[in-house]
Structure formats: C-alpha cells, structure tokens
C-alpha cells in the first residue's frame, strides 16, 4: 500500500535549505505540526518544516512493518494500521491532531503501553527498525532496514529516537507494528500509593497480560490486553471493579493525551522516571503513577535541584516536561557521555544548525 510518497524534488528542496543554513551557520528549528513545541529546552532558528515529506511508503501487514515519511500524520498512520487490525504498540501521545511520525520519533515519547507484559512491551526505540535522515551536509543516511533482526553496522536508527532533531532531519522511518489485542478491559482498585506500587511490582513478576497502569488520588487502574482466555484468567486473579469499555477507552486516552484533570493548570509538570520499585517520591505536590511504577508524573513547584536529587538517589532522572523555569529541562549526562554526544553532533551537524540547545546546551 502506497500513498502520496514525497518526490525527489522535496528532498532537493530540503537539501538546499540545509546546505544554505550550514553555509551561513543559521540555526534551523525543525518543526512539523508543532504539537511538542513545549518539550525540551527552548531553541531559536528559522523553521524547517519537513511535512512536504509525507505518506506511507510501504505497509505489508504480514511483515509487521510500516515505512512512512516523517511528515505523515500519526492519525493517518494509525488509521492505516487499524484497517488491518494492527497498531503502533508504543501508543504514542499525539498532543494535537497535527502530530507527525517524525515528531513522534524525535520526541521519543511512549504512552501507557510502554511497560506491558509479553510482546507488547517497549518504548518508541524498541519498535524502530530503520530510518533515513538528512545530516548537516545535506547527505542522506540510511540506517537499519525493514526486517526484524538486523545487526549490520551500528544501530543508529534507534539513536534518532528522542534525539529532538539535534543530529539531523528525519526523513523516513520503518517501525515494527503489532496486532491489536483481541480483548481489552480495565479494572480499578481503591488503594494507597504504596499499596499500588507493591501490587504493580508483584503483578509484573507474574505472567499477566497487563498493558497499562495508572494510580492517582487513591485509585489504581490497570488495563489487561490479550486473548479472551488470558484476559478472563487475569481478571479472575486480580479482582477489582471493571470499567465499561467505552469509558475505559476514553480514560486511557485522557492519560495518553494528558487531558486528565491532573494535567490541567500552569504548575510545573515533572516527568520522573525511576525503577518501578522505588517508594512514593518524598516531594511536595501531587503525583500520578504510570508504567507499573516506573513513571511518576509530578505537579510541583519545588526546586529542580530537590526533585532531581530525589529521582537520582532512587536510580532515576527527572525531566521538566511542561512549565516555565530557568533550569535545565533534562537531567545532565556524565562527562564521558557528554563528550561522545559532542563528537556525534560534530559529525552529523558540523555547522551546529539543527535545533541547537534543545536537548542540551551546546549540542
């Protein structure tokens, strides 16, 4: 199945823009739908819109792979998959109708299904099989491929996931897709935060078809996805109260898209990633827990330093996801790793034009 594949002309136009910016050392801000403008450090520069590069290049359901141009709308991609009973298994948040595949890969954000059991687990990077990108010289690089197993050369397709565009312009991505689960249901339990964390970690050690979890304000909700028999068996083992199907779908959509009331308001929103067994964060503010305990959303005006200290003491890290602040958005990396980041940037983007500073200052 092929739709509206971008032509050689659009690549040429993109290359001209990149080469001109490189020659004049003019920063470029790679931006498609702009749905994730809020994410990352602020970056200046003239907008480079890769949306001329759009369309599904190849999709064969029996290969479990879809290849699409970066400018393809996520909604368009997901409907094409749904027509064949398949899905993007990392359940990416859109944060707006204009969200594109390229932005999804560059942001690297996964949704509620991130830590599911069995074939469904994983973040964005776990499903990326290959990518084409344009570097700061206007050269097109092709990494990985469209097959499930591929260890030829370094795995640079996954390196683009979460790179926030600092290495180059993503042109095309091949993603592993999965069948939609035949049955899905959501159970709710009235539980404290600590009791929820205990249960989530205990359940994750058993072969249960858990595909999402969320705790907030004394209620734990978990989603089960799988075969009829597996979901029925798990329901019997877990108990709890069952949500009706349409409210459950709307509920998980609210979590994924951050339209749940927890996310409303202007207070800073921190995305704290920790080992799932870490006890409740001892920080001021309200919390929402996802991913079996590994993701803690925190609404708090506490100082960045205090929040990072708690996250790092537990083996995790904290990102200022939304909200104004003078602090660094991302937790800094160690000196030897930063040196590697700088050398990679120097090769892929020698003139330093792509999204300067969006990931880290000087990068």
């Amino acid at each position: 199945m092929v739709t509206n594949v971008s032509s050689q002309d659009t690549v040429t136009a993109l290359r001209e823009a990149v080469c001109e910016a490189a020659a004049t050392r003019t920063p470029l801000r790679i931006r498609a739908g702009g749905t994730k403008d809020f994410y990352g450090n602020p970056t200046a520069g003239s907008v480079l819109d890769p949306r001329c590069h759009t369309g599904i290049v190849a999709y064969e359901p029996s290969e479990l792979v879809v290849t699409a141009c970066a400018g393809t709308l996520l909604t368009e991609l997901e409907s094409a998959l749904a027509r064949h009973g398949q899905m993007l298994a990392f359940e990416p948040p859109h944060f707006g109708d204009a969200a594109t595949l390229g932005g999804c890969i560059a942001a690297g954000l996964a949704g509620p299904r991130r830590t599911a059991y069995g074939p469904c687990y994983g973040g964005v990077r776990d499903f990326v099989l290959g990518a084409r990108m344009m570097d700061g010289r206007g050269e097109i690089l092709t990494f990985g491929g469209t097959v499930m197993k591929n260890v030829a050369g370094y795995d640079l397709a996954r390196l683009l996931v979460g790179s926030l565009g600092v290495l180059g312009v993503i042109l095309e991505v091949s993603v592993k897709v999965l069948p939609q689960p035949p049955v899905q249901l959501t159970l709710s339990f009235e539980l404290t935060q600590q009791a929820s964390l205990e249960r989530l970690n205990a359940w994750a050690g058993q072969p249960l078809p858990l595909s999402a979890s969320m705790w907030h304000a004394g209620v734990l909700s978990v989603r089960l996805s799988g075969s009829r028999a597996a979901v029925a068996d798990a329901r019997g083992r877990l108990g709890g109260e069952m949500m009706d199907v349409s409210s459950a779908d709307a509920f998980w959509m609210q979590i994924r898209e951050q339209t749940h009331p927890f996310f409303a308001g202007a207070e800073q929103l921190w995305r704290v990633c920790v080992p799932s067994t870490m006890p409740g964060l001892e920080l001021h503010g309200s919390q929402m827990i996802e991913w079996g305990g590994a993701l803690r959303w925190l609404r708090s005006s506490q100082a960045a330093q205090a929040i990072r200290a708690v996250a790092q003491a537990g083996g995790g890290h904290a990102t200022l996801f939304r909200g104004e602040s003078a602090c660094e958005v991302f937790t800094p990396v160690s000196a030897p790793l930063l040196a590697v980041h700088r050398r990679l940037k120097a090769h892929f983007d020698p003139a330093g034009i792509f999204n300067p500073g969006r990931l880290y200052p000087g990068l």
């Binding site: 499930m148 205990a202 080992p275």
Partner: protein, 485 residues
C-alpha cells in the same frame, strides 16, 4: 618480539602473572572464535579478574597505542573476536559473577562473563527468566550477547538483547567508566545504550550488565507442521502473522535440514515434507489452547500436509531437539560447515530457499537450511571440506552470494551473528559511503584513538573500491583467497 616482551613486563605491574598469556601454546586457544575460517595468534592474552584490572589494561594499551580485542566465550560466528597479531586479546571470561537478582524489580545485574543460560537458571526460583536464548546459550556470555545483539528462537515475541538489557556499565578505551541506559526507563540524552548493543566490542568494554527478567509463561506447546512445498511453508508464516498471531517461536527446517538432524536428534520430523514448521504458543493453559487451535486452522488453510501438536513438555522438547541440534548435526555430516546469517522479508522465504537450491548446483556444495522464520532470519549451513582450500573458497563464495541475495531482497547481511571480519565486503554493498562514514564517526566518537577492536564491522574505503571492481569485472564474486584483508 621486543614489543611483546615490553608489553608483558608493563602488564605484569598491574596484573598477576597467571592473568597474562603470551607463549604460543597458551595463546593458541584464542586464535579464533566460532568462525574458524579466520585465525590469528594475538601478541598477548590477558584475563583480568576485576573491573579495576580491565581499566588498567585499557589505560596501559591506550597510552602505548596497542589495539585491544575484547572476547567473551568466543562463540561468535563472524570473527568479531578475531585477535590482532600486534594486539592484546582481552578476555572477560573471569568477570563471571552474578551480582544481584532482584525478583521484585525483575532485573538481574551480572558481570560480562556470566553465561546467558546462567541468568535464567538464577532467576528460575522466582518464576522469571532472561528471554533472549541464542542457540549457544549454554556457553555464550552476556557480554558477548551485548556485543552482538543476540537473538534466539523466541525473539519475535520477546525481543532481542537490545529489548531486554536495561543498563550497561563499561569502560572506554581510555579506561574511563561509562554507564549507558539505567534501571529507570528512557535514560537522559541520546540513546547510546542502543548504539552500544550490537557494536561488536568496538565502542566500549562491557563490565556490568543489568537485564530485564520476564515471568516464565505457565505453559508452552508446540505445533509441528509439514509442507509439500517450501513456498507453502513461507506463505504459512505470513498467514499466521496476518491472522494477528505472534507465536512464541516460529522456526523452519527444509527437507535437507530435517534429514540431516533426524538421525541425530530423533525428533520425529516428517522426512517426506519439503519443509517442517515449528510453531510455539505460550501463556496460560486456556490461552495456549485457544491460540493453538487458531494456529492449526491457519496452518491447515495454508496447505499444511500434516499437523502434530505436543501433548506434554517431553514431546515439546523432542520437537525442538532437531532444530536445536542442527549445527552439531551439520558438524557430524560434513568435515566442516559454514553457517550464514541473513535476514529477508518473511514473504520471500520460499523464493530464497529456491535460490539457495540453485546455488547448491552452481558451487557443488550441499546447503541445508534452518530459519528463524518468524523473523525472516536465515541460517543456511553450507557443508564443505576445510581440508581442501578449493572447497573452502567455494563455500565462502557461496555464502557471499547468499548475502548479496539478502540485500537484493530488501534484507540484511546479518540478523544476529554480526559483521565481524566475515562480512566486511558485503557492508560495502549494503551501505553507501555517507552511511559508512557515519559508522566511522560513531567509532571515533567513542574511541578517538581507534584502538578498540579496530578493523571489524566497518570496511575501509579502499576495500569497498576493490570489492566493487571485483564484482564488476567478473559479474559475480570471484573465489577469493583466504583471508582477504
């Protein structure tokens, strides 16, 4: 020789004498890995016992400009651990401690020399296991698995090494400690963990690995299906996946492979079938029953001529015994065998099998095939005589042509064994110059002095030019001398 003496004496200041080998009778066991076509005695072998000793070895070699080749169990099949005559072979085999199994967090933290299977054995008491299970899992180490991004027979459902490793601690060539990934998801910065995994020991030396453990399924059952035509078997694989099924394992043997392993393994394979498909389901008993029934329906519709379902664990193990013994059986049937490792889109499995059959005639060598069919990952086993240089050359040319076909079919030259030294030429075919330049840049970003396992994975510009000329001039791959650097 002077260089060797000088290095031995320098190393002796930081390592105990028993950890340094340099006499030929001591270093010979390290002259090759699982790819025995390539051999080279290293100048020195070191066997450090602690991370601090590894760091000292690296600092010393870095200061003196001596290249280092890391090695795990030496089971690799692409020559990734092939020593350098003027280099130090760094064995991580003695760093073999399981540091921690945390059943509540479902993680295990281990040193690089711990064997793959030992992790699952340590986790078994908690009902957990480490999912990637390469066929060499009783011997291969987790450090080697990280280097090669190893797979196994369950990776369609449970993923490869890259999906199951959370964190790698390592040392740069300069001896600096670095940590990639973390126990928490989405570690900050670029995803260098994904870059390290499958980097064939060229970017950093792994000293500690934290892996994810998954719950053991309550039950597994296996279907053994026969097909009268290899194309039908390939179509059946596509049909299963199109039906929304992700089998826990999906493996194929062609007739030559079934006939090769049957006398050895007594697995009960249908020797009249052109291809045998092994299709596994795991989960709760009810879930498995439901899925097995669904799988059988799809297989029947896909023209399976015979279907058997394992009724108990012993029978399931028997079905798998043939597949798991394919390599040793090949070793028994022929003086030597050359195991290839390409991946192609699943829908082209039948076409590839027919192409390989045609190549058997062209090169005058037999080539039974076993496939990780669910992943489209082929393991043709070229049988040849390693005592006859002409037979060796034919086997190599045969293998190279299979890899070129993989690229032409939209696949890759290696699914899980790595490039090593074996597939340097085909890297020239699979990747253009700009992309290969990016690989060189990544290598330099981690190892500016280019002393860590140099000469592997990334072909030189000169080599690619020569390979291009050779292919153009003869219209096919010439029989090259061995080895060709």
């Amino acid at each position: 020789m002077n260089r060797q003496r000088e290095m031995v004496s320098a190393l002796s200041e930081t390592l105990p004498r028993h950890s340094i080998l340099w006499r030929a009778e001591e270093t010979t066991p390290y002259e090759c890995d699982g790819l025995m076509l390539y051999r080279q005695l290293p100048m020195i072998v070191v066997l450090p016992e602690t991370e601090a000793e590894v760091a000292q070895v690296l600092r010393l070699c870095h200061a003196r400009g001596v290249p280092v080749v890391p090695r795990g169990a030496g089971t690799g099949l692409s020559g990734g651990a092939l020593p350098l005559g003027a280099g130090v072979l760094l064995s991580l085999a003695k760093l073999n401690r399981i540091i921690e199994v945390d059943p509540r967090a479902r993680t295990a933290t281990v040193q690089p020399g711990v064997r793959n299977l030992a992790i699952s054995e340590a986790a078994e008491q908690y009902g957990l296991c480490y999912a990637p299970d390469p066929s060499s899992q009783i011997a291969c180490t987790i450090g080697g698995n990280v280097a090669e991004n190893s797979g196994g027979v369950h990776c369609l459902k449970y993923g490869l090494t890259v999906h199951n490793v959370l964190r790698v601690r390592g040392l740069t060539m300069e001896g600096d400690s670095v940590e990639f990934g973390s126990r928490a998801p989405d570690a900050p910065g670029l995803d260098l963990l994904a870059t390290i995994i499958g980097s064939e020991g060229m970017l950093a030396v792994t000293t500690e690995v934290t892996v994810r453990l998954v719950p053991r399924p309550r039950l597994a059952r296996c279907i053994m299906a026969s097909f009268a035509d290899v194309g039908d078997a390939g179509d059946a694989v596509a049909a299963l996946i199109a039906a929304g099924i992700i089998p826990a394992g999906l493996e194929m043997l062609d007739q030559a492979a079934s006939r090769l392993v049957e006398p050895f393994a007594n697995a009960g394979y249908d020797l009249a079938a052109a291809a045998v498909l092994l299709c596994e389901s795991d989960g709760t008993p009810e879930e498995v029953d439901e899925e097995i029934e669904h799988m059988c329906t799809v297989l029947r519709e896909a023209r399976a001529t015979r279907i058997q379902v394992s009724n108990n664990e012993a029978e399931r193990q028997r079905f798998w015994a043939g597949r798991k013994n394919a390599f040793p059986a090949a070793g028994r049937a022929s003086p030597a065998y050359y195991c290839m490792d390409g991946t192609i889109p699943r829908k082209r499995l039948g076409e590839m099998l027919r192409a390989i059959q045609a190549l058997e005639g062209k090169y005058g060598l037999r080539c039974p095939n076993v496939f990780h069919a669910g992943d489209g990952n082929l393991h043709p086993l070229i049988l040849f005589d390693d005592g006859d240089p002409e037979s060796v050359a034919r086997a190599e040319a045969f293998g190279a042509e299979i890899l070129e076909r993989c690229i032409q079919m939209g696949g890759t030259i290696t699914g899980e064994h790595g490039v090593g030294v074996e597939k340097l030429d085909q890297m020239c075919s699979q990747f253009d110059t700009s992309t290969r330049d990016a690989f060189v840049a990544v290598k330099r970003a981690f190892d500016p002095a280019q002393l860590l396992n140099p000469g592997k994975v990334i072909p030189t510009l000169h080599r690619c030019a020569e390979y291009g000329r050779m292919r153009v001039s003869s219209g096919k791959l010439a029989f090259a001398e061995l080895p060709r650097y």
